[in-house]
Amino acid sequence: MTGIELLSFNTAEIQAILLSLKVAFYCALVSLPFALWLAHIMARRSFYGKSIIESLVHLPLVLPPVTTGYLLLLMFGTNGWIGQWLYSTFNIKIAFSFYAAVLASIIVSFPLIVRSIRTAIEMVDTDLEDASRILGVNRLKTFFRITVPLALPGIISGTVLAFARSLGEFGATITFAGNIAGETQTLPLAIYSNMQVPGQEGTTLRLVLVSVVLSFIVMAISEWMVRRMKARKFN
């Protein structure tokens, strides 16, 4: 395969790449506020049943993704208890749609973003938060003016991790969102589909390379931003 052939993407391939980026973007965007909220509670509060919530959040990390996808299908499928309610009340179908791809990514990457942000918040000295409150600033504003800026490198790397995990998501997506070209066929799914078809080795290799390059760029950007944040914060 020549270099030119390697770079000649067809529409379906470009569609899969763009869709992957779009799913990953929405996954990171929607996860972030929930993860911030949950990570803060986990880092700063102690309450009855905390370990149960902790285990639930971390479950997708150890469950086979296909199981996560299946459970999501049970809940959000047209016959599932949430899916049924959403369809009858708002006429919304989640399963086997773009939203399902985003939702599957969110659930699978959530433990990663929560863990990263939680560790970052735990590193922020609670004494500084007390100092802020004594100066007349309430808990919520203290969170955004002191805790978030000081935990920012961890928050960024957590969000990027969620983005990157979403780019690589396969099992839960194919089970819950299906493999519909242009709608739910993300990059890993497109690679898988092309692998099944004889004669598509070129396409497969192209997409594999794109996948490697994209993941590398995302992680490099994350690393660079975290370094910059740390340098700017204290100097």
Partner: protein, 360 residues
């Protein structure tokens, strides 16, 4: 005024207090672990007592009986922590402005605080780029700009090395002159506290064992035991009467010519104005007693007075001598016996000009 009457239990530690603190500086003195910081934390709302009431300027901020517990951010407290606790991601200017509330009445403007604490040249820097003393001054400025009803300082000197302390103390005295609010300063260093105020509240084993003027506290056995670990200091306020740059002396007066005190100062400090009030510190064991005025001696300060009290310590005696103001003089029990020193004896107190330390 701050009224505290509460009981606090934290694990095995019990703390109980029933004291009022007026405007002006009160030193909270006691050994480590006595409960000094617990008192400040309870006033500020960082910890919640199990019983009792806390009033700040007539506002009930805590009352266990009717479940009143005003949140920390609404108590209008200025708190300077031991380690400063500046926000590392903000500049000195942003730190100072952090608690600045446009709507609350101001006792001091931003510019007044910056000038008072000599912070102008640091405003654009980050906390990591300034010294320990400067950080502590910034923390003080930040607390002042939040327009507090009360200022709490928790070991403000301990994070600062010994020669930088002298940079903090004059600033605290200036603040005290600029605003009329209660200022509670916690420290386990008695000489430092006395440089700020002679009004002390003594805390030991979770209780207040005395709250009075330093000289009064010296008369009580319980408080004297607490002071035992430190050198007993004299803290006297005097007015500058004359300056003699040629001899490097500042002549201070308390009342009348009889009790003039000559202080040897470094050249840089010979800039005091006539009439300026200064606080002098002299250790009780740097003063000698004599039956007569001594001629032909290098000691320049010789003040005559009556002994009003004698407090026995292990092998020494503390004599309180009224020389127009009260001086504590530590002599050995043997000297006291030999010279037959009793309450009512007329003595001369001798101390060298170089033994005096000046603040303010």
């Amino acid at each position: 005024m701050v009224e505290t009457k509460f009981k606090l239990k934290q694990g095995n530690f019990n703390f109980a207090i029933n004291e009022k603190f007026d405007a002006g500086i009160t030193g909270i003195y006691g050994p480590s672990g006595a409960g000094k910081t617990s008192l400040l934390k309870a006033i500020s709302g960082l910890i919640k007592p199990q019983e009792g009431v806390i009033n700040i300027n007539g506002n009930e901020v805590f009352n266990a009986e009717n479940n009143t517990n005003i949140p920390v951010e609404k108590r209008r407290i200025g708190y300077v922590f031991q380690e400063g606790r500046l926000f590392p991601h903000l500049s000195i200017e942003q730190n100072l402005n952090y608690g600045f509330n446009k709507h609350s009445p101001k006792q001091l403007s931003f510019d007044a605080v910056v000038d008072l604490l000599n912070l102008r040249s640091l405003l654009k820097r980050k906390p990591s780029a300034i010294s320990g003393g400067e950080r502590q001054r910034t923390a003080l400025g930040r607390a002042l700009l939040s327009s507090p009803d009360i200022l709490l300082l928790d070991e403000p000197f301990s994070a600062v090395d010994i020669h930088l302390r002298s940079q903090i103390i004059p600033f605290l005295l200036k603040i005290h002159k600029s605003i009329d609010i209660p200022i509670l300063v916690v420290s386990h260093d008695l000489p430092d506290l006395l440089k700020l105020s002679s009004r002390l509240c003594l805390i030991n084993n979770g209780h207040c064992i005395g709250h009075d003027d330093y000289h009064e506290l010296l008369k009580k056995e319980t408080s004297l035991k607490l002071f035992a670990s430190d050198a007993i200091m004299n803290a006297i306020t005097m007015t500058v009467k004359a300056i003699d740059p040629a001899k490097g002396l500042t002549i201070l007066s308390n009342n009348g010519d009889e009790s003039d005190v000559r202080v040897k100062c470094e050249k840089s400090k010979l800039t005091y104005g006539i009439g300026e009030e200064l606080k002098l510190f002299i250790s009780s064991d740097d003063i000698a007693l004599s039956e007569k005025k001594v001629e032909g001696i290098t000691i320049q300060n010789q003040l005559q007075g009556n002994i009003t009290d004698i407090i026995k310590r292990e092998s020494t005696s503390l004599c309180i001598v009224d020389v127009g103001f009260k001086l504590v003089v530590e002599i050995t029990a043997e000297s006291q016996k030999r010279m037959n020193i009793e309450v009512g004896s007329l003595v001369w107190c001798l101390f060298k000009s170089v033994a005096i330390d000046v603040a303010g």
